[in-house]
């Protein structure tokens, strides 16, 4: 063994997906240990929640996992609705499912594009992914007026009905995206160089995954069939027919492939939801000032994993405590286990396959 040295990777590094600082102890090119340091994006969102009314906190949830704002809005609003027993109109429930699944698709598209870029495919896959993502972002822009921080879902419904013609746009997108998925497979998935870089890299076994409470695509890539949408259906997910894709080896390639499979399943859900969407008014009718007491925990399936909101209310206008269980935080915990014994370029590959967003790790 030669002389050990420490490499500080980040916090300003293009492949750390934000301000993540990794302290790598290296023996030559081999990573011996890895220590993630957090806190560079800390905005004390949980404390902010204690000083805002229930409605006022919704814009802040946009800033958790900023690639999946709709899903964060949904998770928080469902938690408050569970706490205060608020009913949601059926049309709003279907629209929520459609929005959440569309957001899952675009979040996975970013993950696919950036993962390919981390492997050295300079910009083409990233730009292709962003080109597809743009279609949905434009649609969201039309629906709620934001391109990244949507702030669309309200407690007890939505902020407004979708404009006319949205269904057709979504139907066209589904047709278009199915064609694009074939293209991604041609360009990336079964490319020999891509396979050589990502197969058998960063293998996460089932046991380790469960021990680190890893959730979402990362857990399913390790072969565990676990999806909150099936296990504990919220909204109207139990009415739709969809599969939970699982991987076998749990390596970086499986995690990548699983995202492509999940996009396909999300498109299936959207297709069914659009066909069954009931008439009515989805706009939230409840008052914007709530008082409640008690405590609740609500978990939803975010694109990155399981997002949980634990709310304690003491009868005041604001929650007494709001604990956020963010998927990226737990998923990042498994990183030191995965990169041991790999080259530094493969460590970048593993980090890219985790698909983390620093916004919800530091909160």
């Amino acid at each position: 063994m030669g002389e050990l040295f420490t490499v500080n990777m980040g916090p300003q590094h293009p492949s750390t997906h934000g301000v993540l600082y990794l302290e790598l102890v290296m023996d030559g090119e081999i990573v011996l240990s890895c220590k993630p340091h957090l806190g560079y994006l800390h905005r004390s969102i949980e404390k902010i929640a204690e000083n805002r009314t229930y409605t006022q906190f919704i814009p802040f949830t946009d800033r958790l996992d900023y690639l999946a704002s709709m899903n964060n809005n949904l998770g928080y609003c469902l938690a408050v609705e569970k706490l205060l027993n608020i009913a949601v109109p059926p049309r709003a429930q279907y629209l929520r499912v459609i929005m959440a699944e569309l957001n899952r698709v675009i979040s996975h598209l970013v993950a696919i594009g950036t993962f390919a870029q981390d492997l050295g495919a300079y910009a083409t896959p990233l730009f292709y992914a962003f080109r597809d993502r743009e279609k949905i972002v434009e649609l969201f822009d039309e629906i709620c007026g934001g391109r990244l921080t949507y702030n669309y879902i309200r407690i007890g419904g939505l902020s407004g009905d979708v404009p006319a013609g949205t269904e057709q746009v979504i139907k066209d997108f589904i047709k278009y995206e199915r064609k694009q998925l074939v293209e991604y497979n041609e360009l990336l998935t079964y490319n020999v160089i891509f396979l050589a870089r990502s197969k058998k890299i960063g293998i996460l076994t089932q046991e380790t995954a469960i021990n680190y409470s890893v959730t979402g695509p990362m857990l399913r890539a390790s072969g565990v069939k676990w999806d909150i949408r099936k296990e504990e259906p919220y909204l109207v997910y139990d009415k739709f027919d969809f599969d939970i894709p699982t991987g076998t080896a749990g390596d970086a390639w499986d995690r990548f492939k699983l995202k492509l499979d999940e996009i396909e399943q999300s498109l299936r859900i959207i297709e069914q939801a659009i066909g069954a969407i009931p008439e009515g008014n989805p706009v939230s009718k409840v008052n914007r000032v709530f008082r409640g007491s008690g405590e609740t925990y609500m978990r939803t399936e975010n694109p990155k994993g399981e997002l949980g909101f634990y709310l304690v209310a003491d009868g005041g206008l604001m929650p007494y405590r709001c604990k956020i269980r963010s998927p990226s935080f737990s998923n990042l915990g498994a990183l030191p286990e995965l990169v041991k014994g790999l080259n530094i370029s493969d460590a970048v590959c593993v980090l890219g396959s985790l698909d983390i967003v620093m916004g919800e790790i530091d909160r």
Binding site: Q56, G145, T149, V192, I193
Partner: protein, 148 residues
């Protein structure tokens, strides 16, 4: 050994060609990007830009002040001698605090406060962003198309 080495080179080349086929197909497609400063995309109907106000519509109900999650709005009023009419003394907007959530627009009973279509919001002095006077009709004059 040598055979495997040469085979790998060929397989690698083949997969590159396969990938290039995808890029080749895209060469003849229309570009999806805009040359931004020259060509500008019109904003969508529900786009949330800078906070704007129709002063004559405002009924001084203070609901926007209460709902604002970041306390970006500041409103003051005085009651005239007849004890009925209220007049706005100041209505300022702090663009540095604003998170462009649109809750004020949503809650306004008379649609007086709204978010306009401005997205190019550079100022020469950042102090100008701290208190934009919503009562003035010159508030966004310096920005292109900023006349509300």
């Amino acid at each position: 050994m040598l055979f495997i080495y040469i085979k790998r080179i060929f397989v690698g080349f083949y997969s590159i060609l396969k990938g290039l086929k995808v890029t080749f197909k895209n060469i003849f497609k229309k570009p999806v990007t805009l040359h931004y400063p020259v060509v500008k995309q019109p904003m969508k109907e529900r786009f949330r830009g800078m906070v704007d106000l129709y002063p004559e519509k405002c009924v001084i109900c203070y609901q926007c002040i209460r709902i604002c999650p970041t306390a970006a709005l500041d409103l003051g009023h005085k009651v005239l001698e007849d004890n009925k009419t209220k007049n706005i003394t100041k209505f300022t907007f702090n663009a540095e605090l604003c998170c462009f959530c649109g809750l004020c627009e949503e809650i306004c009973p008379t649609d007086a406060i709204f978010l306009n279509k401005m997205y190019e919001v550079s100022y020469f002095d950042h102090k100008d962003l701290l208190s934009i006077d919503l009562m003035s009709n010159q508030k966004y004059k310096h920005v292109d198309g900023g006349v509300s």
